[in-house]
């Protein structure tokens, strides 16, 4: 018996060490980015800064705040996220509710129409042609409409409604003369705020982070969302949009430009991820809940 106790203790220690190690590996890059964003770029680029900030400076953030393209992108992303999420809920909730009601005839057919889109889709090019044909290219709608609703969200919301809205409640209200419209707004929505929050959050995060629709459908820089601007700065290394830098551009040495670029790099990551980083710890349980409702198999 005591032999087992001992090995259990060892197991416990090894397990804690393993989890700690993995956690450290995962958060190290994040700590590095935060530290790098307020460190002297020279210290970052030469490897002197590797964990905590060295020669603290806020120049990177100053440059980011001066950069007009970033702010335009930020504004666009906020607009796209708000509008896209609203449309998402407008399509999702009524449809999921209807699919959860047993009075709905031909429910199987409607469900299959939805489910089939999970199995097969036309692909990138046919979808692109539809968006083009609708005249959405180079408008906000190309960002917020394609992909606004997925079969997965519908199934999740539907199973939530089935579980939380009792049939008796619906039947009783109907006998009292309530219409589906009334029921939906006065009963279903107030009872479903958690799922609405979850679905809205998932969609908002996806919209905030997506770049591909913008890449293929937008050419007008005034419409670019933040992620496309980030792509230019972080991956293609274009920091020329910086008005302050270009004014002094002639006088700036190459080393200076490199310095600016790396200064802006880390600061812009922080600024772009800030809204999510702030709300994430508070909303974590909602996200987890969303994954779990989604995994319930019928």
């Amino acid at each position: 018996m005591s032999r087992f106790r001992l090995s259990d203790k060892a197991f416990e220690r090894i397990n804690i060490a393993f989890v700690s190690l993995l956690t450290l590996i995962i958060i190290y890059p994040l700590i590095f980015v935060i530290s790098a964003s307020i460190s002297d770029p020279h210290a970052v680029n030469t490897g002197k800064m590797w964990l905590w900030p060295v020669d603290i400076t806020f120049d990177g953030f100053k440059r980011v705040f001066q950069n007009e393209a970033i702010w335009v992108g930020y504004k666009n992303t906020i607009i796209y996220t708000l509008i896209g999420t609203s449309i998402h809920l407008f399509l999702l909730l009524p449809c999921a509710y209807a699919l959860s009601r047993k009075e709905l005839m031909a429910k199987k057919v409607f469900l299959w129409i939805v489910l089939f889109t999970m199995l097969f889709n036309g692909g990138l090019i046919p979808t692109y042609l539809v968006v083009q044909k609708l005249g959405m290219v180079n408008t906000m709608w190309a960002i917020v409409i394609p992909g606004v609703l997925g079969a997965w969200s519908l199934l999740v919301a539907r199973s939530f409604f089935q579980q939380t809205i009792p049939d008796q409640l619906v039947e009783a209200s109907k006998i009292d003369g309530a219409s589906d419209l009334y029921l939906f707004f006065k009963v279903v929505i107030p009872l479903s705020l958690p799922i609405i929050a979850v679905m809205a959050l998932f969609h908002a995060v996806a919209l905030w982070n997506q770049y591909f629709n913008a890449l293929i459908y937008l050419t007008d820089e005034d419409l670019f969302p933040l992620q496309l601007i980030l792509r230019q700065i972080l991956i293609i290394n274009e920091v020329s949009a910086d008005s302050a830098a270009s004014a002094a551009g002639a006088a700036q040495s190459f080393a200076d430009q490199v310095k600016t670029a790396s200064l802006v790099k880390y600061a812009v990551i922080i600024v772009s991820a800030l809204p999510l980083l702030i709300v994430y710890p508070f909303l974590q349980r909602f996200f987890v809940k969303g994954v779990l409702i989604g995994s319930v198999k019928e």
Binding site: T23, E103, V114, L230, K265, Y280
Partner: protein, 316 residues
């Protein structure tokens, strides 16, 4: 007899029609509720499915989808005969198979997290390891560019300080897959434990108690109770992953791709993007996209069938 039978059918059919009408009139608002979403699916999913026929045509914008002439399998043949076909297929399969190979990692991590006592340590590890899931793919690749830079990147500083040559990770074909797949694990490892942790929370505690009474060690309970208990979840998720085979992380590949690493980073989907969107060869690109979708469906059905045979856990 036959006539009578027909009459009965007619009667019940009429009755059914009446019932349908009555039910529809009573619940018409429900159908109204379906309308916006179904319209969306029709326009952005079903019309593209209809439009996929351009894969068998020579699509000209002025002729439209219907008016464009049929060429049947010409685009497919050209694709299969091209010198890059095997390279694209190989790259796509290797990248996804590599990714799939790491499928057990979140399971191991979840088993490990599950053994922690509930408390702040467990909570913090979860919060911290879920976080990368919320970082956008652009930022992730941006971080890779910064960290892996041959001159200024932190990884190469570490490598050179140990006395080795710095490695151009992002511009060499032999490193592309490792960087892609392992950075993907960094993003998703924590997040992917959620479902397994939920499955583990559902394991009957009496099983554990009985095993403890019989003298089983902690490790033994993990191996012989926890792992078998979550196997159904594991199988379902594996099937779902197989369904996405060949489709994983295309947007990230596109961001990581450059002319120097294209030998391994050229995959079918990036090629569809290049030929279709950038070069405007719509029919050819649609054909390649269709080829990929068909392989996906075959894979999904096959894996599901195998899973049903060997384990009774399947999607349908």
């Amino acid at each position: 007899m036959e006539i009578q039978h027909g009459e009965r059918n007619l009667k019940t059919r009429r009755q059914r029609l009446y019932e349908i009408r009555k039910s529809f009139l009573r619940n018409w608002q429900l159908y109204l509720f379906l309308l916006p979403a179904l319209t969306y699916f029709l326009i952005f999913h079903y019309i593209p499915m209809y439009g996929v026929q351009i894969a068998f045509k020579d699509y000209f914008a002025n002729l439209g989808i219907i008016g464009s002439p049929w060429v049947w399998f010409e685009h497919f043949e050209r694709f299969f005969d091209s010198y890059y076909f095997w390279r694209l297929l190989k790259n796509t399969i290797i990248l996804n198979a590599y990714n799939l190979l790491l499928f057990p990692l979140p399971i191991i991590f979840a088993l490990s997290l599950n053994e922690l006592r509930n408390g702040p340590f467990k909570k913090w590890t979860q919060t911290l390891t879920y976080a990368p899931h919320f970082i956008s793919v652009v930022v992730v690749v941006g971080m890779l560019v910064a960290f892996l830079d041959p001159l200024t990147g932190l990884v190469n500083h570490a490598i050179t300080s140990l006395g080795f040559e710095s490695i151009p990770f992002l511009t060499s074909p032999e490193w592309f897959r490792h960087v892609f797949v392992w950075s993907g694990q960094w993003e998703s490892l924590g997040w992917n434990t959620i479902i397994y942790l939920a499955a583990l929370a559902g394991v009957n505690p009496e099983l554990h108690e009985a095993a403890r009474v019989d003298g089983a060690s902690r490790l033994q309970t993990v191996l012989h109770i926890n792992i078998p208990s979550i196997m159904p979840t594991v199988i379902i998720l594996f099937i779902l992953n197989m369904g996405n085979f060949m489709q994983i992380g295309f947007e990230k590949v596109l961001l990581m791709q450059n002319t120097l690493n294209s030998e391994t980073s050229d995959i079918i989907q990036t090629f569809v993007y290049e030929t279709g969107i950038l070069e405007g060869r719509y029919s050819f690109a649609a054909a390649i996209g269709l080829f990929e979708s068909v392989i996906n469906i075959i894979l999904l059905i096959t894996v599901n069938q195998i899973a049903r045979k060997v384990s009774e856990n399947s999607l349908w």
